[in-house]
Symmetry: C2
Subunit: 442 residues, 2 copies
Amino acid sequence: MSTADLGLPVDVPSTALFTDRYELTMLQAALKSGAAHRRSVFEAFTRRLPEGRRYGVVAGTGRVLDAVENFRFDTPVLDYLEREGVVDAETLEWLAGYRFRGDIWGYPEGEVYFPGSPILRVEGTFAEAVLLETVVLSILNHDSAIAAAASRMAVAAGGRPLMEMGARRTHELAAVAASRAAYIGGFASSSNLAAGFRYGLPTIGTSAHAFTLLHDTERDAFTAQVESLGRTTTLLVDTYDVAAAVRTAVDVAGTDLGAVRIDSGDLLLLAHRVRQQLDDLGAKDTRIVVTSDLDEYAIASLAAAPVDAYGVGTSLVTGSGHPTCAMVYKLVARATSDDPRAPLLPVAKKSLGGKTSIGGRKWAARRLDEDGIAEAEVIGSGPVPPDLTDHQLLAHLVHNGEIIGREPLDTARTRHLTARAGLPLSATQLSRGEPVLPTEFA
Amino acid sequence: MSTADLGLPVDVPSTALFTDRYELTMLQAALKSGAAHRRSVFEAFTRRLPEGRRYGVVAGTGRVLDAVENFRFDTPVLDYLEREGVVDAETLEWLAGYRFRGDIWGYPEGEVYFPGSPILRVEGTFAEAVLLETVVLSILNHDSAIAAAASRMAVAAGGRPLMEMGARRTHELAAVAASRAAYIGGFASSSNLAAGFRYGLPTIGTSAHAFTLLHDTERDAFTAQVESLGRTTTLLVDTYDVAAAVRTAVDVAGTDLGAVRIDSGDLLLLAHRVRQQLDDLGAKDTRIVVTSDLDEYAIASLAAAPVDAYGVGTSLVTGSGHPTCAMVYKLVARATSDDPRAPLLPVAKKSLGGKTSIGGRKWAARRLDEDGIAEAEVIGSGPVPPDLTDHQLLAHLVHNGEIIGREPLDTARTRHLTARAGLPLSATQLSRGEPVLPTEFA
């Protein structure tokens, strides 16, 4: 994949500067000490789920693969690092030839995860693996936070479609990644054209209050919209008086009107009233779309209301109270010398104030009960017990620097549905609780 | 400014797709009805501050100007819109020639704001101004949220330097904007190399626990780091035993050691102990840097501790509990016809459930008391009262499509210090409260 294929609206010539300065200074010092070439294993994991959440959702893996492929130090970047004195000449020369040539294993995208799950395992020399820390965590922490919120909203929405409309509430490029993650978590579409362009997501949207206010009357506005976009469009009915607007809408578009959208007020009450009014007017197939600061709880509270689709913005793109996942990227094993055949030694920071890590290159598996429902997330660094070999979670994503784990977005979306359906029923309770699976260290 | 000057690591060929689909469908319908060419005024404002906050901080204005300049529909974008059937041929043709040719006024970057403050005012035809909604809000909502958190942390830190280290906790490009906004809010530096490259911010960082774990002993790691980075480096002392590490650090680097960093545990207790130990070892000028899930409250709690600098990550890049600002972009006035001389009519959505807007093209001024301290944010759409003409807040940023409001980042940073200092003293209380200035509609 060339960088040009990464697509508009943003062409990423290199991802190498999405990096904390200390990665490069560590590299310099390790090149000098010689330890830089020791075979090393880093793992990305989280010590806890956001408070009250029952499961996490892996998202961003596909973007991580793009970032790894495009992680290289071009001349403008090297010039910058030299000019600023970030690293010395020897390190610059090493960086000029940098390509990740190691291996990456990870939970496939859309899979669920729990505290301690080794979501991504990066293996290579210390030098090549340490450099990926920041960009790997940026992507996984952001995208997984959004996907987790999306998944809860999808549960709350039952079978009704969810539309992602949060671009205006988050950084303009975070918004594109958020649309992607929301799709994995179960959203049907996005208002974000950049997400449509970049990831082929279905896009939606018709009009805002400004369009009604621009015209001399609401009738003028509805007429203009229907003439241009057709009778199946969605008319926004809460600029002035909802009941009057619904009357005008059906009068202008006829009973074939596609949908009406309500963006303010008591949505539960309004949805019932508008449904009744539409039915009375003969517009029995006209759908009702609601969009007003919805989150999973508001969506759940509308379960019994005659609502056909939900548009969600702020709470989705901010992870519904948890905009990041607290994933860390830790050295868990390294060779005892720079001999490629040297054995791996498990390593871990000593616990101080709860920042626990468990050393060793790990496998992970999900143990099922006799009904085939998950009962534990099992993690270990020794041999995999025979009963778990078929239930392992880590997939091989990069082999000797070559990306082998790319897949269509719909694969991740379907995987998430399957993974969530395999959890105990209490996983989909919206109320606060403990992680629905215990993590066992074998 | 050419798009190439926008800089690595991200070259933005066009910002036009950072747009919700409904902007384009509204455009199409308005082109058809003819209303698209009515002169229009849109304003970005927020109905409330995040709960408990005393003031908001405007950030992102400079990025908005870049986005406006690069908002154009190139061939790949037009092809996409055609392929997906987003808009019709007439609209595509109009988009192909699109450049924003109107005027933009706004609160200058770094200024403080309050509920109702018209932070940005975009004037042009409906067609040209409506298209900017999403990208304007994405930038202002994100960047202002970070700057507000940064400002509170800067207040809590007193004169001690703050280092931004949050890249790994947010989207990789949101991280770059976050570093920029944090600088405006009062941070001194960033770990993010992309932010250094793109915005010239000072970058910092030396090593992580992985570097210590990579070596056979902590002494080996410290020796490698000091040999490579010099005695003035910062050594991370909490991988194993802090007291032993501090002893080793001074033994290896001598009493000229630049700093030690503590990244876990009881920072208040450890800072005191480490300071005592460093002093006892003769390393009286060795500084202590702390970095462990700090927010403004944790920083404030360390005010009496012998800490020389703070590194802040998660809580900064997530806006310390408020990752977005709830700014909206509303049509507040429009001409009664497409005659350029037609008068402007104030417009506003009817209130339903608190989504209040006040129509009319607005000015804003900050009224001072007799001591020169701000006492009210005054907003109006009629003539500016004579006593307020010298205290107006809106600066002219774009004139007939030409960007005239660019300024160095340090200007915004200094402006924020001045603006905050001009607020009543209670503005800088960390505790929850009401906005420190009332908003008055004249």
